[in-house]
Subunit: 168 residues, 2 copies
């Protein structure tokens, strides 16, 4: 009667990347209907030193992919971040979801106390699996999805909170 | 060897409201140093039909407060949303954190299957405690904190991801 590490990670990562994928599909449709160059939305930043929309999507995917791999104690495949269009970004999310679907509960459950080391420049941050998930992987995933959503809303794409939360 | 409902909720709510409180302190200092009317930041919206910054903070606090109460199966105290200044918004977060600190693990643990009903207009969404926490309370909390952060960054307040994630 508690939440397993798997339940609190892989299905949540997948659900939210699926929500982001649906948001991207709405953004692509909006750009087409309004004759907006998709590159304008994909390159849009809320501030000059913040990530552009496309990068927010790539980083969201990476937090899910790398988060899953770190919890399982395996190496994640690398990503090249070459996506420049909505279909390419959607494919990036789909491939990440396919990767996440390969994880089995037994790879993640029991990772509560597994040491996860995040390198930052010359130093490292040490987490337990549980604190990595709750204090880093999930907050980061939600941050980049929310910021991607905020960029699109700021540019007039018609989205609502239900798009962010997804279907229950 | 799994995450208890308490561990995945109350300390995470508190941690992230504390992070938001520190972000508000930086925003208040920024406004003072640059002689910016704080009301400009507090009333700023990324789009006309999105919540202004101050409301993002209030809603973040409410998702934590109401989330905790719903998981525990009790009524949360109501909030009047009268805050108009940074000190008032910071006090709102502090009071919410004090309220969250009153919850004991035994009130939350075992809530995985407790029914949580969210009214939306004429209909209701039914959640289990676990799906309410993972699919609604946490995503909403992170959404409003990230959006508050995005509004401040968009307005030139010097913040970094470390402010959002908080200290490990």
């Amino acid at each position: 009667m508690a939440i397993s590490m798997y339940q609190a990670s892989i299905p949540i990562f997948i659900r939210n990347l699926n929500n982001l994928r649906a948001i991207l599909e709405k953004a692509a449709a909006h750009a087409e209907a309004r004759k907006i160059d998709p590159a304008v939305l994909i390159g849009f930043r809320l501030y000059p030193d913040m990530f552009a929309f496309g990068k927010q999507v790539q980083v969201a995917a990476d937090h899910a992919k790398n988060g899953a791999a770190r919890l399982a104690g395996i190496e994640a495949p690398t990503s090249e971040n070459t996506e420049k269009t909505f279909p390419e970004l959607i494919e990036r999310l789909q491939k990440t979801i396919e990767y996440l679907n390969t994880f089995k509960p037994e790879q993640i459950d029991g990772a509560e106390e597994r040491q996860v080391t995040i390198k930052q420049g010359d130093s490292s941050i040490l987490y337990t699996g549980q604190s990595f998930l709750l204090n880093r992987a999930l907050p980061n995933l939600f941050f980049h999805i929310a910021t991607a959503y905020d960029i699109l809303r700021h540019n007039g794409v018609e989205l609502g909170k239900a798009d962010y939360l997804g279907k229950n």
